[in-house]
Symmetry: C2
Subunit: 272 residues, 2 copies
């Protein structure tokens, strides 16, 4: 069981994991370098623990101690109990969910490790928006996608905002960061996956015609909101597919498009 | 052509349409009562005009006058040119899109008017979140839904945030506010629509099994994030359908669920 430690000095070095949480650029650099990520709110903290992430520490306001008692009792990590005003001073925002945990990152699996058992994977290129990343993971988990592969320049799925929007799905869907692009797609094709590039291009085949739910192994490639997939990513795909759109509408947002594509590749397949 | 009027007094009564834009409760009451709504940003203002909404006035910072010149020239409405600091003082926020327009609402059509020509409609119950309303309209437009019916307690699709998130789709998909619930659903059924209630309930039939894209006329019923459809709405439906979900995941967010359902009822139908 961990000890409860009341902290009253915002400069206490034991609170270092929680400093400047609203400074996205700072946290983007610091968190992977220091091997941590921040889980926010009771539900997300519990899900991180259930997914096997080790807790480094927890930062709670006093009224959250009872609600988190079982989590506190199961962990050896220190629990810093602070006044809400001090929490705001340290983190830079009003922590209305009342509980933060600093969790230890785990080494990511390799592409070969996740591709062996997978039949439906998501590939994201240059998705930099933490909200979009989180929303895509949430839909991927709900709709039965087996794994996510990220191009080298995608944003961090374990960034606080991504974790929150995903409702913890970033813990349950295994993901890999590819170290070359688009060269990192070759092993995916070699593992027997059809690479389907999602595009609004009207010349692409519509998803319902392509019937990807009948394919054995499918990888759905998604680009960022706005730009979509790059020309070289499109060139590396086996087929371009589109969601049938009504005339005069720009496009779906990337979260909605992803959900539709995941449904189209998973619905009706054996076991789904 | 409209006149450009430089305004320097934040209390100038001509700016009344734009006061207190960040006060959601105030604007919720005022805008329908005064018959106006606010369009924000060049693209949305243009789309409102193209959809036939009359402009009451426009509020611009000086640097937006050139970009909006053609809109200004086509309209008889006054254009108030203000300093960005004054715009912030009046509206309550920093208007980073630089252009606001107050538009005149149009009378809503009746259910009978929209149902005659429609084959795919959306019915929302108690959707109170302006972001969700906007996202659902955007997906409805993109995926070819013909009309939206709202329960009496749904939020206003013409509220600024809904308009923005919808990318103007609230102007292009006709919508109706039902005046009774769930009694207002009877005319929908009488018009030959199958009422499909979307639910996460595992006992419901999965969308891919229900194959609603083969049905002649379909109405997809959606509830609010969290609560979903009420018991009486579910009782009023012809069939309960679910998106096939992986185990252990709570649900999709309502925007993603709506997009999947719209795809499932429109993809593969003749003409889509």
């Amino acid at each position: 069981m961990a000890g409860l430690v009341t902290v009253e000095d915002p400069d206490d070095p034991r609170l270092h994991d929680y400093t400047g949480l609203t400074d996205v650029e700072l946290r983007r650099r610091r968190e992977p370098a220091e091997g941590l990520f921040i889980a926010e709110g009771e539900k997300v903290i519990r899900r991180a623990g259930e997914a096997g992430y080790a807790m480094r520490s927890m930062l709670l306001s006093a009224k959250w101690v009872d609600a988190m008692r079982d989590v506190i009792d199961r962990s050896a990590a220190p629990v810093y109990v602070v006044d809400p005003a001090l929490a705001e001073q340290v983190t830079g925002y009003h922590v209305h969910r009342g509980a933060l945990a600093s969790m230890q990152r785990k080494p990511l699996p390799t592409a070969a490790e996740v591709l062996g058992a997978a039949r439906r994977v998501v590939i994201m290129e240059s998705v930099n928006d933490h909200t979009n990343i989180g929303a895509i993971f949430r839909s991927a988990a709900a709709l039965g996608m087996d794994a996510v592969l990220l191009s080298p320049d995608c944003a961090d799925p374990l960034y606080r905002r991504s974790v929150k929007v995903s409702m913890g799905a970033v813990f349950s869907v295994p993901y890999v960061r590819l170290d070359s692009w688009p060269g990192g797609l070759d092993p995916v094709r070699e593992a027997g996956f059809a690479l389907l590039a999602l595009t609004p291009d009207e010349k692409a085949r519509s998803l319902d015609e392509a019937a990807p739910h009948r394919m054995d192994r499918v990888a759905v490639m998604l680009g960022a909101e706005g730009d979509g997939l790059s020309a070289r990513a499109l060139a590396a795909a086996d087929e371009r597919v589109r969601i049938p759109m009504s005339h005069g509408v720009d496009s779906l947002n990337v979260g909605a498009a992803a959900a539709v594509a995941f449904y189209a590749v998973t619905a009706g397949r054996p076991g789904a």
